[in-house]
């Protein structure tokens, strides 16, 4: 392995560590909400500092690799992709922190009927699955798996679209639970953005492996493997 190969391997390992950290934060935020566990929520808030610190370290590592090794072709695309994926992961970390902030702010247990009606658990689980998928796609350089995320995100979009109606109906019958309802709606919006961040990560993975730019392309074109389609 050349010196550059060693640096790129270290960068990849650190990125995977960032993926794991953020996934753990997301899963803990789900537990904190559904168990109404304020201690766990505080733990996520404390860990957010680690996420932020790690983001800064990864940015510096990418900067150093570009400055010292002048990578080209796939190596350059890899480093550029890592810089963007790093930013996406940090935002997912912020989302987990935001959810836990709600847990700390609300005075009463989350309303179970509302959580079921809005399919919030399904949103969390889908978000975690999508994040795990992009992490695996990144590790295994699997663009097919990366592309599958665009379809899976539709579940999150659908739940988000129906959220206004579900929450609105609940509020009509439970006027004393307006605050809780609004918090739940905010959480739904946040979880929908987890899907968006993961889609961005998929685009970066496809960019670095296939040198294809999928940004701003329609979903149908994003899902096509090279050689498919017209």
């Amino acid at each position: 392995m050349t010196h550059l190969d060693v640096e790129l391997k270290n960068l990849k390992n650190d990125m995977l560590e960032m993926f794991e950290l953020v996934l753990s934060q997301l899963n803990k935020s789900k537990e904190a909400l559904f168990q109404f566990d304020k201690d766990l929520a505080r733990e996520v808030l404390v860990n957010e500092k680690r996420v932020n610190g790690f983001e800064l370290k990864l940015d510096r590592d990418c900067e150093n690799i570009i400055a010292l090794f002048n990578p080209v072709a796939i190596d350059l695309r890899f480093v550029l992709a890592c810089m963007k994926i790093n930013s996406n992961l940090e935002r997912i970390g912020d989302i987990a922190e935001g959810i836990c902030q709600f847990v700390l702010n609300i005075k009463l247990d989350p309303e179970k009927e509302l959580l079921e009606k809005t399919r919030l658990l399904e949103m969390f689980e889908t978000g975690a699955i999508i994040l795990t998928d992009v992490m695996t796609a990144f590790e295994m350089e699997d663009t097919r798996l990366a592309r599958s995320v665009f379809k899976k995100d539709e579940i999150l979009d659908q739940i988000n679209m129906n959220a206004n109606e579900s929450v609105g109906d609940f509020i009509k019958n439970n006027l004393d639970r307006i605050n809780q309802s609004l918090y739940t709606l905010s959480i739904i919006r946040k979880l929908e953005r987890v899907g968006d961040q993961c889609k961005n990560i998929s685009e970066e993975i496809i960019f670095y492996i296939e040198a294809k730019v999928l940004k701003h392309k329609p979903r149908s074109q994003k899902q096509e493997m090279p050689g498919e389609g017209s």
Partner: protein
């Protein structure tokens, strides 16, 4: 204790003040790149540490040059002993007109070693360290002049390593080589630093970035900036350093 130190070193070629108050210390098992425009004093500074400047008429040195905390210009120092500890590789490969084996064995024989098994083992080890063994092991009796430029340069490195120096001085070791040979030399430097302390003069900024831990920027005989290579190439302190590494002068 630092491996190599220069304390307020001045060097004059006659009346020309070539090095002006250089203060630098280099850690053991690191690679230090010396960069700067032509005529800035990089090679002059490099040659301080094996006292090759002594061979130039009219040279005068002030200040201290230390290796392992010992002043190498003190009267007690024997230059032959110093040059065993401090190996040098030059810009143009300069193998002797001898066989590959004898090129590497030469330093050992000159130092009075005659035990043939010992010499064979040392030659093999040095050629392996220089990443050349696999390419030449079946033709050690062939002339070194038949090797390619990159192979000759690695042979010169093996020759320097055979007498077990602790410091390696390299004066633009890859500038006469093609890109593939250059890459091999650079990887070799990266691997060798675990055993040696290396100083390398280079005009190739990207090379300095790739191989070195610390970088020293010289200009008109002065040491302008000396810091970790990461710092120099991402956020140098001095404007002159930034202008040089971005290609705005020199």
């Amino acid at each position: 204790m630092q491996k190599i130190e220069s304390n307020n070193v001045h060097l004059y070629y006659g009346t020309f003040h070539a090095l002006k108050g250089i203060n630098m210390s280099i850690e053991k098992n690191t690679v230090t790149a010396l960069i700067g425009p032509s005529g800035c004093g990089k090679s002059t500074f490099l040659r301080l540490f094996n006292r090759m400047n002594d061979l130039i008429d009219g040279v005068r040195i002030e200040g201290q040059c230390l290796i392992d905390a010992k002043d190498i210009y003190s009267k007690e120092v024997r230059i032959e002993e110093l040059r065993k500890r401090v190996g040098m590789v030059f810009q143009k490969p300069n193998p002797f007109p001898k066989t590959i084996f004898e090129n590497v064995a030469y330093g050992l024989r000159v130092n009075g070693i005659t035990h043939s098994t010992f010499i064979e083992e040392r030659v093999e080890r040095s050629l392996k360290q220089a990443a050349l063994w696999e390419e030449v092991k079946d033709k050690l009796k062939k002339s070194a002049m038949e090797l390619s430029g990159g192979q000759q340069q690695r042979l010169c490195i093996a020759r320097a390593l055979a007498i077990e120096p602790s410091v390696l001085l390299m004066d633009e070791p890859a500038s006469a080589l093609d890109p593939i040979s250059t890459a091999k030399i650079e990887e070799l430097i990266y691997e060798l630093k675990s055993q040696y302390t290396i100083m390398i003069v280079t005009h190739n900024m990207q090379q300095a970035g790739r191989v070195s831990d610390t970088t020293a920027f010289f200009y008109l005989g002065e040491l302008i900036e000396y810091d970790s290579t990461k710092k120099i190439f991402t956020n140098p302190t001095e404007v002159r350093t930034q202008n040089y590494i971005t290609g705005r002068f020199g």
